[in-house]
Point group: C2
Chain length 373, copies 2
């Protein structure tokens, strides 16, 4: 890979070198993105995210940390007209997070990071723990005190240390105390860059075109942003005629992006409102750091936003299982959102629902979780 990419603040536009580990804009504190990336050529000797190394911002392929990422299959719904599923739960640790975390940890290795801190209560924490294990990087995962025993068990199995945020404050504080590097996935521009590779994968699996709609459960919204940016890169490079429209689905009980969308606000409130619980814990994010970017992406794609209740989420998750797809409730929320949108005459064209995580982690029964990180 040629040395080209740099880091750019999505809020104030200031530019930063990508040669040192930083997690937010050194001028205004805003979230960063990797600029100067190109959507190709694909490297067909590799698969999954690493088939598109030019989209990741990594300078040196020798620091790639891989757990065997694959290109996620797309399967049709047996009944619903024009609906299919992108099975991203079939990834090394069971969620789409691996696609971004593989890049995040590879970049940390390129930077020479030996100890990093991540904050997550669920899939991302397990993913960071696994990739750090493979990279030989010490991982500390800051989790809310209410995090379930099963999720903690997966994080611990990979050898990561768990710190309860109630006791120790924010993850960035913990990192400073430990003399470690804070690289939280929701802030990481490399996590986001990794997710952009979802776009060429979908297009390659769809005969060189994008579906009319892509349906995504939205918590922090990074996956939606990644898909949109990746599709834009493909369109700008002449590989895609038309951008897919994005249907963002949130849980009724925790819907800051849907709320802002409805009122036309350009960003989510900086101070989160306390909200009730949802079975779709993966999208119960009260203060998404890239809220303004997510709202802009939905708008730019000519998309829409919808909220769904827990009863609908549970029914849709069950519907997926009854066709052989064992997904977490967060992914069921996406299907429930599509069904709700269609009853209103929206998203009636071809629609690809992204399955974000496996149901195996909640085999003991999903317990409603409060708004977490």
């Amino acid at each position: 890979m040629a040395a080209g990419p740099f880091l750019r603040c999505t809020r104030c536009g200031s530019e930063h070198s990508d040669r040192e580990p930083i997690w937010h804009c050194l001028r205004c504190g805003g979230p960063l993105e990797v600029s100067g990336l190109l959507p190709g050529p694909a490297d067909d000797r590799r698969s999954g995210v690493w088939q598109y190394p030019s989209m990741t911002g990594l300078h040196d392929a020798r620091t790639i940390v891989s757990l065997g990422e694959q290109s996620a299959p797309i399967v049709p719904d047996p009944v619903l007209e024009g609906v299919s599923y992108h099975l991203q739960q079939l990834s090394p640790t069971g969620s789409y997070k691996d696609r971004g975390v593989s890049v995040l940890v590879s970049k940390a290795k390129e930077w020479g990071v030996r100890s990093l801190v991540e904050d997550s209560s669920g899939n991302a924490g397990a993913s960071v723990a696994a990739y750090c294990a493979a990279a030989g990087i010490k991982a500390t995962i800051v989790v809310p005190a209410a995090t379930s025993a099963g999720k903690r068990a997966q994080i611990s199995a990979f050898g990561a240390e768990i710190v309860l945020s109630r006791d120790r404050g924010t993850a960035a504080t913990v990192a400073a105390e430990l003399d470690a590097t804070y690289l939280g996935h929701n802030w990481s521009p490399y996590f986001l860059a990794g997710l952009t590779t979802t776009a060429p994968e979908i297009v390659a699996r769809s005969g060189g075109r994008a579906p009319q709609w892509i349906v995504l459960p939205v918590g922090a919204g990074t996956l939606l942003l990644g898909v949109h940016r990746g599709m834009k890169m493909l369109a700008e490079a002449g590989h895609l005629a038309e951008l897919p429209r994005l249907l963002a689905v949130q849980a009724e009980s925790c819907a800051p992006i849907a709320d802002a969308w409805r009122t036309g606000a350009p960003d989510v409130p900086a101070v989160p409102v306390s909200r009730p619980v949802s079975v779709a814990e993966g999208i119960a994010v009260p203060a998404p750091v890239r809220g303004a970017e997510v709202l802009a992406a939905i708008r730019e794609s000519n998309g829409a936003c919808v909220t769904v209740g827990d009863a609908g989420i549970t029914a849709a998750t069950r519907r997926l299982a009854l066709q052989g797809i064992f997904a977490e409730p967060t992914s069921g929320a996406a299907l429930a959102g599509l069904q709700k949108a269609r009853t209103r005459g929206t998203a009636t064209g071809s629609a690809l629902v992204v399955i974000t995580g496996t149901g195996l982690k909640t085999l003991g029964g999903a317990t409603p979780a409060g708004c977490g990180r």
Copy 2:
């Protein structure tokens, strides 16, 4: 696919048509195999097991029941010289069983089966339930009364009915009562045929060669048989110069095949001896129906057999997690077996360890299980 294959008894050699659903030899009751199969050509429009349709015995590709099977990645061990892992846990329901069950259920669909009965306490039951859900076939899974709540939950999520074997007798009896078709995976020649596709996948991922050793946890032994038969088909067709040697690993507490191997017996005892428990529940099979075939395959490959204790299994499972591979203890047993064999000077060449199932199903903690089906 041309109409060519037929069913052959592995015990008495009698031949049977493959146009009607049968699960064992109608003459002597022995296990069947699909004969007349060929290892190619590969269909590169499909992936995973369905890349090799000529090895499955299916007559009509329109009855393929797929949940998005992929070719399993191979990743190297970061430390152990020449050791790598075939990550079959990254399959639709989290275990290698999907490779065989996809063929078993597709054949059931080709036969017009509308209701089938399977017996399994774990991964195979979940897999059959999922593929039957996708196929629109009613599935009844006969499980031992001691089966864990988590595993029952996964089977039930796919809409399958669970019957406790203690109350209702054998699975074949249950099938007769329900007017359903018994198609247990351990007996199914199509399950076995599906597993033979492991061989070309490994060879394709290894630069056209096989590793010197393939290390497999062995319960019923069907995966070992499938790998060996697939490799033989490749060798006979001139696609492979040398057969890989098979290292069969069993749990000390339930090792009928290793016991027979040590004494030179041609088959396992017909009446199982009651035995203590093991953490590797996937290989705690006291009376493998294809025992004689498995022993012959190990011998023919110039392989070896080794047993491992629970402490070694747990340590190896933990070692896998500490490099980012979250596997079930049954897969840890394979690594433990390789390590034990190497200390004795066996399997010191290149060795591929097959990871058979995900650790996510036992997130609540693995409980030792008695010898099950």
